[in-house]
Amino acid sequence: MTFFEKITLIDRRIVFIVIALAVIIPLLLRVDLPIKVTPEVKKVYDIIDELPPGSVIVMPCEYAPDTMAELEPMLFAVLRHCFRKDIKVIGCLFFPTGVKLIEQEFKQIAEEQGAVYGEDYVLLGYRPYPAVVIMSMGQDFRQSFPEDYYGTSLDALPMMKGVKNYDDTELVLTINATSGVDFWLIYGRERYGFRYALGVTAVMAADYYSYLNSGQVEGIIGGLKGAAEYESLIDYGDLATMGMSIQSFVHIVIVLFIIIGNVGYFASRGKQRGRR
């Protein structure tokens, strides 16, 4: 058997080992491949990056464990960016099955970055009927939320001093896997004209690109790929970067195997007939 015949008949166990290594090695060594940043993610980053320290942004987070794989890395990256730049965050937990999850995520990043509850971030709990809540927040946050998630009066939180409604904030960035994206757009952005950006799943992202052109949405972080881009912008590679690197390795490995198979096939054609 010639070399070329041999490479058309690599044992599949070798293929399996190579695939396993393509996952395990980047995971162990934390290999981060460079990631190309798309303009819609860069825009979100720029808006936050250009804010003066002490500015406030609103982050409605609406997702549950099933979409967490894509959205958690996004929330982590954005929060790290904000806390480092001393941007204050009002987190809104408006999706009932995700409340506990997201509260924990805020806590984790706050601890890591040394952010203090009440001074650097505030969480607003779940209230039913998002349309009404979003509109009332345009009048005064205290209308729907006299108290925060933990039951403390908003007036008792140092960060909320002088923050009445959207006019006192710089951006609404929703990390969202629900139709809440539309609620914030229709009842919030269209009525009160705040700057609006999204972090959504890869599947959803495709639907919202048209809003970028119309200017209703200023930036979109889409899926694990978008999260990885944001991680590379803040220079803090984490879950998303790792996930994307592993994907890159595995995809390249598979493509290489296809190429090897074809090189072998063409070089040894005529000598043997394989089975389709």
Partner: protein, 217 residues
């Protein structure tokens, strides 16, 4: 490293299944048979708890079938018990003489199951897909060219599935374009799926390396 016996059990079973990649072996056989037994038991329990008790036992005990509130109670209960009779007929297959009565419940399963199909598939598989393809094409933008492409693709694809005529001449050429487009579709679906499958593998390996062994942070 974890000290939770559950995590250890899960990790060992995970490795048992992965061992199948090398070849069939006793560890895989063990995990395979265990999962078959446990999942069949799980299915039975769920069926009893989620279907049989709420849908049958509870209304029977109450002497009232809530699905047919308009009918007299006793007739409602009759309607509720009728399928039990049909279900028992299934066991007739163990008798040589009466085996044919087991066909009645099967006929019923087929009838009920395939009854709703005609309008539903025509509506969701045919009408809606047809309407989605029928968009005005004015060839003024890239999206229009895309839509034209979809329309041509659907047409040639349908021609490929035409069984009354041999694939020859112009007709055969059209069918050939159809199969090409099908193949591009298959290739892209294949490529698109890789990422999701790799994510699953990453999930399992992270479980082993982080939750079980604790060798990554």
């Amino acid at each position: 490293m974890s000290f939770d016996p559950g995590v250890w059990l899960a990790a060992i079973l995970t490795l048992c299944i992965f061992s199948f990649l090398y070849k069939d072996n006793p560890f895989y056989k063990f995990a395979e048979h265990l999962s078959v037994g446990v999942s069949a038991g799980y299915y039975l329990v769920v069926l009893i708890r989620q279907t049989l008790i709420p849908a049958f036992v509870n209304p029977l005990m109450a002497g009232y079938w809530h699905v047919v509130p308009e009918l007299p109670r006793s007739f409602g209960i009759f309607l509720l018990i009728f399928p039990v009779f049909m279900g028992i007929l299934l066991f007739a297959r163990f008798s040589r003489k009466w085996a044919y009565v087991a066909r009645y419940p099967i006929a019923m399963i087929w009838g009920i199951g395939s009854g709703v199909v005609i309008p539903l598939v025509l509506q969701n598989h045919v009408i809606r897909q047809l309407q989605a393809t029928m968009v005005p094409i004015t060839v003024q933008s890239w999206a229009d060219i895309g839509n034209l492409f979809i329309a041509v693709g659907v047409l040639t694809g349908l021609v490929y599935f035409f069984f009354s005529k041999e694939h020859k001449g112009l007709f055969g050429g059209t069918a050939k374009v159809g199969i090409w487009i099908l193949m591009i579709g298959f290739g892209s679906t294949f490529g698109f799926t890789v990422m999701a499958r790799v994510s699953l593998l990453i999930g399992r390996i992270i479980f082993l390396m982080k939750d079980w062994l604790g060798i990554i942070g």
